[in-house]
Symmetry: C2
């Protein structure tokens, strides 16, 4: 891991959408970057909150049991543990995430786009 990482520069390197990459760690949390476009998959992380920071573009976090949350660049929103959610971006959106090192990409849902933590760390 580099000593200094520029979040937008790290996001820019990503080839694929919906494929987060770990760029740092603080205590028991990974910092990740990702590119998003379109709609992801409904999922929840039973025991873990998930922080979204929008770097570029606009993002909506869709919820089943509460109002959707609209985010623009520089906005932070924390998806609470245990709550069904689905990120959606009409245009390509770049984000940073802060989440526990054990957090599974799509929580308790399996999706063809699910990435393992090893893949997010740059492993196989």
């Amino acid at each position: 891991m580099e000593t200094v990482v520029n979040l937008e520069a790290e996001a820019e390197k990503l080839q694929e959408t919906w494929s987060p990459r770990v760029v740092g760690r603080v205590n028991d949390q990974y910092v990740k970057v990702a590119k998003l476009q379109g709609e992801f998959t409904w999922h929840r992380h039973e025991d873990e909150d998930e922080l979204f920071l929008v770097l570029r573009g606009a993002l909506t976090i869709r919820y089943r049991d509460r109002d959707d949350v609209a985010l623009s660049a520089g906005d932070v929103h924390v998806v609470p543990r245990g709550v069904l959610h689905n990120p959606m971006a009409v245009e390509e959106c770049w984000i940073a995430l802060v989440e526990t090192v054990t957090t599974q990409h799509t929580g308790d849902t399996v999706d063809p786009r699910t990435r393992s933590i090893a893949e997010q760390l740059g492993g196989g």
Copy 2:
């Protein structure tokens, strides 16, 4: 805590330098914003890493036992636990921090500018 917080807008509200304000929480970590100018105080957080994200301006993290780290807007750097450091900004700099909810402002050092966690939460 608001559902959506814009980091720069939260930083802009701050009246004082070196007085972090909690604006969010993800798992066992607080997200804080602060304005910095000048030099702070040498300190360490024995058991806790501290993430710096520069929102505006430029920041140097000075170290005693390694090279200083220079940061610009969008850059992230994690000060490792147990390592003496001192933030320094020639011009006013706005930052976000991610650190464990128990992290003391100036670690094991006491300084007139030390802010309690209650103060950072907006309490007394």
